[in-house]
């Protein structure tokens, strides 16, 4: 018996004790009828080969370990960015349990969201009654100022008519006649969570703007897009705008609701774009989106109202932040203050201090389309060599855009771009064309374990490290965080690879 009261052993150490290792061996030997170890080793080695890679890339139907989620997740993410807004997902209830869990695992925060709990009878007769009862209950219980409706694939397959259902619910008195219930169809079998963000935001914006007269003013709108760093990023953007004196409306500002204090009170709603601001945002002279692929339809709609639109690709680094600020400055006519010039200089200084450790290192990276563009540009700025760039939810247009970006720098010349591929493809890439570091979300740890490529966690979701979402990766200061995240891993690896006494004593340097 290894368990003891003075030092309680939990799963980390308990199962390494002999009574358990013996138990595992016996179970495997006597009851599992497992393949022989040699066979397993043989297949494992085969999966590392070019032959396997070609087979793997020959896949036409099977997806293994994708790096994308489904539309309604993005819709919920956008909805909670508005003042006292309850996301309402029309369809099966299990989906909502999943979205809530998923966000809570990343942000370590509560995520409020309701479902219309459709079951078999609704599949047959449609979900009208679920909508009528659901809106009435949500309105009575959670006292939202707005209920933002989106859909699961179930409701989409049976073809529920959201507009008609919501009107009927209104007529039946589920919510007051003038209560805001924007909606968006967000089928899970089209696009990904970034598409859902786009559809939901367009649904909300058009709900407020449709049929309204636009009286242009000097304000601008800002859209962050689906972003695991939303808490840190949006706060950093607000700080930058304050420094510049820019009067901006942040649309879908979920930075507060995803970061509420523990002070004895649970805030179901906190902060967010006020509904009044959302309405008035029609009058802004321009809208800037930090993530083109999260806002394709939204920006097209906004452009249709007569506003100028600017789409960026998750800008990280000096040049990308320069471009962002210059666009803000151009659109608003506000100068970029010296304070930001200093921040820029500090970032350049930091890169100069550290880039020797990054220069020439090869990186594989995967994630959402805009994040990939932003990080690839930053890596090349640091003198690193992106080698594999993969986005499960990236398409043809994205692929071309990344290729153009890579062609703009000598550091991008050996890089390949993989649109629509998954992390099992990435595994083959890492075995056949190894790199120094991998950048991705938490699921990259399986790739790190299999291939030995050190993982730098940048992306969504990050479940197994805490509080990263609080640190921005946008702006010069945010880029500094991204730089430090990358550097920390590089230095950790250097130490890890040089720490065997009387074997690799050299290079185990105290100053780097």
């Amino acid at each position: 018996m290894s368990q003891n009261t003075s030092n309680v052993l939990d799963h980390f150490n308990l199962f390494r004790e002999p009574e358990y290792t013996e138990l595992f061996e016996n179970k495997r030997k006597n009851f599992e009828f497992a393949h022989p170890d040699q066979k397993i080793a043989e297949i494992r080695d085969w999966t590392k080969t070019w032959e396997y890679r070609e087979k793997n890339f020959g896949r036409e139907a099977l997806t293994v370990n994708p790096a994308k989620a489904c539309q309604p997740l993005g819709a919920v993410f956008a909805a909670i960015g508005f003042e006292s807004t309850m996301p309402f997902v029309h369809g099966s209830q299990g989906c909502v349990a999943y979205y809530r869990s998923h966000f809570s695992r990343h942000f370590k925060e509560p995520t409020s969201c309701v479902s219309s709990s459709m079951t078999e009878d609704a599949a047959v007769f449609g979900g009208l009654n679920n909508m009528i009862d659901g809106l009435a209950n949500t309105y009575a219980m959670y006292k939202p100022k707005m209920i933002a409706v989106s859909t699961t694939c179930m409701a989409e397959v049976i073809g529920d008519d959201l507009n008609g259902f919501i009107s009927t619910a209104r007529e039946k008195g589920s919510v007051p006649a003038d209560f805001d219930v924007p909606y968006a169809h967000t089928p899970a079998f089209v696009g990904s969570h970034v598409t859902g963000y786009d559809n939901a935001l367009k649904g909300i914006v058009s709900h407020f703007w449709e049929g309204k007269e636009r009286t242009p003013n000097e304000k601008i709108n800002f859209i962050g897009g689906f972003d695991g760093y939303t808490v840190g990023n949006l706060r950093e953007i607000k700080r930058i705008f304050a420094l510049m004196g820019v009067d901006a409306t942040i649309l879908a500002d979920n930075s507060d609701v995803l970061d509420t204090p523990a002070d004895g009170e649970f805030r179901m709603y906190d902060g967010g774009t006020t509904l009044e601001d959302a309405k008035l945002a029609l009058n802004a002279k321009a809208t800037i989106s930090m993530q083109q692929y999260c806002t394709e339809k939204t920006l097209a709609y906004i452009a249709g109202t007569g506003q100028e639109t600017v789409a960026l690709n998750h800008p990280v680094g000096v040049a990308a932040t320069d471009k962002f600020l210059m666009e803000v400055s151009r659109v608003t006519g506000k100068a970029i203050p010296t304070e930001l010039e200093k921040e820029r200089g500090r970032l350049v200084d930091a890169i100069a201090d550290s880039s020797a450790h990054i220069h020439g290192k090869k990186f594989a990276l995967y994630g959402d389309p805009d994040l990939m563009l932003g990080l690839a540009a930053f890596l090349m700025e640091l003198g690193a060599e992106p080698t594999h760039i993969l986005s499960t939810n990236g398409g043809k247009e994205w692929e071309e855009q990344v290729k153009a970006l890579l062609a703009s720098s000598p550091f991008g010349k050996d890089c390949h771009v993989y649109a629509g591929k998954d992390l099992w493809h990435m595994r083959s890439l890492l075995f056949t064309e190894p790199v120094d570091f991998l950048i991705g979300n938490t699921y990259g740890k399986y790739l790190e374990r299999d291939t030995g490529t050190p993982l730098i966690r940048i992306g969504f979701p990050i479940f197994d490290r805490h509080h990263k979402h609080r640190y921005p990766v946008w702006g010069y200061q945010g880029s500094m965080n991204a730089l430090v995240t990358i550097l920390d891993k590089i230095f950790d690896e250097m130490d890890k690879n040089t720490n065997i006494p009387s074997k690799t004593d050299y290079s185990f340097d105290i100053i780097r």
Partner: protein
Amino acid sequence: MSLTVEQTKARNQELIKEVLEVYPEKTAKRRAKHLGVYEEEKPDCTVKSNIKSIPGVMTIRGCAYAGSKGVVWGPIKDMIHISHGPVGCGQYSWAARRNYYIGTTGIDSFVTMQFTSDFQEKDIVFGGDKKLEKIMDEIEDLFPLNKGITVQSECPIGLIGDDIEAVSKKKSKEFGGKTIVPVRCEGFRGVSQSLGHHIANDAVRDFVFDKSEDKHPEFVSTPYDVAIIGDYNIGGDAWASRILLEEMGLRVIAQWSGDGSIAELENTPKAKLNVLHCYRSMNYISRHMEEKYGIPWVEYNFFGPSKIEASLREIASHFDDKIKEGAEKVIAKYKALMQGVIDKYKPRLEGKTVMLFVGGLRPRHVIGAYEDLGMNVVGTGYEFGHNDDYQRTTHYVKDGTLIYDDVTGYEFEKFVEKVQPDLVGSGIKEKYVFQKMGVPFRQMHSWDYSGPYHGYDGFAIFARDMDMAINNPVWGLTKTPWKK
């Protein structure tokens, strides 16, 4: 200020009345049936259960897919489980349940991987059967050591009229009789995870038991063969249970389904006794094996020394004196450790109150473990329990306990606010709500990334964790000192 039982009952009844006031009339009527106060000697908890959740109320429940893929089938390690439909379901449930296993992931084990057919619009319009066939071909090609495939249906499958049974049958034949299991666990079926468990159990019956001859004729039975049913090995729970059964002289021939393999499922009909932990999710297959193979089953509870001791004796009572003596030896062996745990933690936890809201067996099963530490469970409820769960609960709860079935976000928050327990045990969706309120919390699905909690080894961890939650210095910091 501790209340008498009668005062507690009155307070709880008042509380129920109060929370119902928020609802529209129709909803209040429906919800009233799910809320109650336990009266001693009553045969159940006086609440209705296993009924559709009400739209818009923020139920904590999941779906049938979660019950089948997430709970029953997902942990079978040497099979590949396809999340069949759009990408989301498989993505959100990917490796989230901490079903520990040992194996070479991606080569002979596949639990922490996400295999999906990633349905696109054309699959919805034209059907996904052709794609499913191709997926199975690609699985055979790229993962040659897989020992079987399951098709875990997501919502659209049942709505677009796909024939996954025909595809599975055809491919099974083509692959030389490989076990391929179509599971009709579309998320809209039933009212919660629960129907998914049942459907998954039935799929084992139909496609593992009934479809196969004895695949392991070389397997030699002994009079002491048992199978662990309904332990998902969360944080290693099944291992911490198995070790005790083995120590008392039994031979565990199968684990359902944590760290389980298809061979173990196939050999289970050779067991002499099925020992059932999670009654809710696996009573169906246990009853089936009793009827078809004459294997008796016995429920047990491996949370906390009191229940473990009683369970070991109960299990042993199905065997001869050798096993009965074995059970006594095991109990004696761990006595000092358990006393040590209680001596260390009970003084820090004595009299503390707990409110639970969990799934499966835990709303009742963990009560004894808390009581071993001197704590009292003052409220409990099931996410997807049935009436037979609430009947069983009467053996655990005290007179006056607040009972809430399929609790809504609003109700749970209000109950906790008013009852002010020292600890809430529930899931990830609830965790941060209560921590914001300054209430200590432990996730009782995932063990909050700790565990195991089963068995004697697990109880030490359970006690440590409850202590670290309740006696965490952070709870003294939530109030701003300069504000009155």
